[in-house]
């Protein structure tokens, strides 16, 4: 039962990350990312209860603070500091339909790829492992397809969430230090990227990645 719930929550992670990928405004992306992080927390908690790994429950608590609250808050503040710029002309390079079909293809390819891996947790969570791997590629898709640099930041966060789940599934007994290493890493990355975005906005008045080809050292 617990493992089934983990698989379902894993699938919901893909659904929410697809919503982040499809969101046209930073506001919606922030909301979807917060929801996705809440799903991630639920997944970590369920996995912790099912496998009896106390570390995973601590991970769930730290992820609530860092990913559900802190990261969305930082990005939203940066967006507000820029004066909520208009993003209507920053549509994705991919049409929504192709984005969703690409996500489906990534899920399938990753499912085939993890077919031969023996899991230390249980064979029952193999779908979740495939999904966590796919999640990494969904993040990559978000970075590549977005022209909006705010959304490219979310692409990085999605990749990071994917690796978080992969780690939880492959090494549920990993010490807290490793997890802290991963989440704090993400926090600093988001802080640095937010700072860079803010500087770009102040200097160039654009959020379009295509306008940034002339940046020189």
């Amino acid at each position: 039962m617990g493992y089934t719930l983990v698989n379902i929550l894993g699938a919901l992670l893909i659904v929410t990350s697809t919503l982040v990928l499809l969101s046209k405004t930073t506001r919606r992306a922030v909301l979807c990312y917060a929801v996705q992080s809440a799903v991630l927390v639920a997944l970590l908690f369920t996995l912790g209860v099912t496998t009896g790994a106390r570390e995973l429950i601590i991970w769930a608590v730290t992820a609530t603070v860092t990913k559900v609250i802190f990261v969305p808050l930082v990005v939203w503040n940066v967006y507000k500091k820029m004066g909520c710029p208009d993003e209507s002309n920053l549509a994705s390079r991919l049409k929504p339909a192709w984005s969703i079909i690409l996500v489906a293809a990534e899920v399938l390819v990753c499912f085939v790829a993890v077919g031969g891996i023996q899991l230390p947790t249980a064979a029952a969570v193999r779908p979740a492992l495939a999904i966590s791997l796919a999640h990494f590629f969904v993040g990559l898709t978000c970075i590549i397809s977005s022209r909006n640099i705010m959304k490219q930041m979310f692409g990085y966060c999605l990749m990071e969430n994917g690796s978080h789940v992969t780690l939880a599934l492959l090494a549920p007994q990993a010490p807290e230090l490793i997890e802290v290493g991963i989440t704090t890493d993400a926090i600093f990355a988001v802080l640095v990227m937010s700072f860079v975005v803010l500087r770009i906005w102040r200097g160039m008045h654009t959020l379009d990645a295509r306008d940034l080809t002339n940046l020189k050292g």
Binding site: I8, A11, I14, V15, P96, I100, A104, A128
Partner: protein, 308 residues
């Protein structure tokens, strides 16, 4: 007993359909800050048209004459087969999803053919647009329903509804996404804004209606309202069968009728609110939206293969 149930369903759908379209018109009027006519206006419209004289284009053939009756007959057959009060289909032969899709395609085909048949460029154009909507939305419907059928292990609506009602689905997320994709596809099929305007016979989309008058137009108006009820019931029968009777006795039968009325009312209220909160899409951009819905059903299929 099941024959009685099938006939009862046809009677209910025929009688209730104008009431529902009248209610959606009233909701639209209220949301536009107009007073609007009461919910029984569609009955009066149909009764009025029934007494009027029928006028036909002299270039039209038997297709234009047959179409209103055929359209109505298809809706009657559909109303027999789709489970509404019970989980199982009253006529199992007509309770198959592929039969339903083909029957809807049949009515659409004749609707468009009659539009071309009248030799009016305006009506013909409208008929072609109707076909475009069909081409864009049918693949999504098929794929979403196939995903649900694979989960339930049957293409019979009764068996699919039973699997969802008892929670015996092997891939819950895939079923959920199939339900989302199918609901969106059904919304397109309902012919509401942003995709279409079902009651606007002066508009290009419903151009074929401009060539009809009198009893034929009344029959078509009634059939189109019936189609809306049928499409909504179709979705509810497969993905939201809660409240429908699993075994038939007087108590479950009454509960089934009440549950169906409530579900249909809520579904149409939601549709009416959505319809009046969005802009009409440009025809050229229709494909972008329907392809996105198709993407959702592809994702549902991917989750089905993964097994979640």
């Amino acid at each position: 007993m099941s024959v009685f149930l099938a006939i009862l369903q046809v009677v209910i759908v025929t009688l209730v359909a104008p009431l529902i379209s009248g209610a959606t018109r009233l909701i639209r009027a209220k949301m536009h800050s107009r007073k609007g006519s009461d919910v029984f206006q569609d009955y009066r419209d149909i009764a009025k048209l029934m007494t009027r004289q029928e006028v036909r284009s002299n270039t039209s053939s038997f297709v234009a004459r047959v179409m209103p009756v055929l359209y109505f007959a298809v809706m009657v057959v559909l109303a027999c087969g789709i489970p509404m009060i019970t989980i199982a289909s009253p006529v199992p032969l007509l309770g198959d999803i592929i039969t339903v899709i083909y029957l809807l395609a049949l009515s659409r085909f004749f609707f468009s053919l009659a539009a071309v048949d009248t030799s009016s460029a305006y009506a013909g154009r409208g008929g072609l647009r109707e076909l475009i909507v069909g081409v864009l939305v049918e693949p999504t419907m098929l794929l979403a329903l196939f995903a649900a059928a694979l989960v339930a292990g049957s293409t019979n609506m009764g068996a699919m509804g039973l699997a969802v009602a008892t929670g015996a689905v092997s891939a819950p997320v895939a079923t959920f996404l199939a339900a989302v994709a199918f609901a969106l596809a059904c919304y397109v099929e309902l012919g509401k804004v942003p995709f279409d305007m079902a009651e606007a016979e002066q508009e290009l989309q419903e151009g074929p209606l401009a060539e009809y008058s009198g009893p034929s137009l009344a029959l078509l108006k009634l059939s189109m309202s019936m189609k809306q009820v049928i499409v909504v019931s179709w979705f509810l029968a497969i993905f939201f069968p809660f409240g429908a009777a699993a075994t038939l006795n007087f108590g479950t039968f009454l509960l089934g009728i009440v549950a169906w009325c409530l579900k249909v009312a809520v579904a149409f209220a939601v549709c009416a609110v959505v319809e009046n909160s969005v802009m009409r899409t440009r025809y050229k951009l229709l494909g972008t939206q329907t392809w996105a819905i198709f993407g959702v059903s592809v994702l549902s299929f991917a989750f089905l293969i993964v097994g979640v």
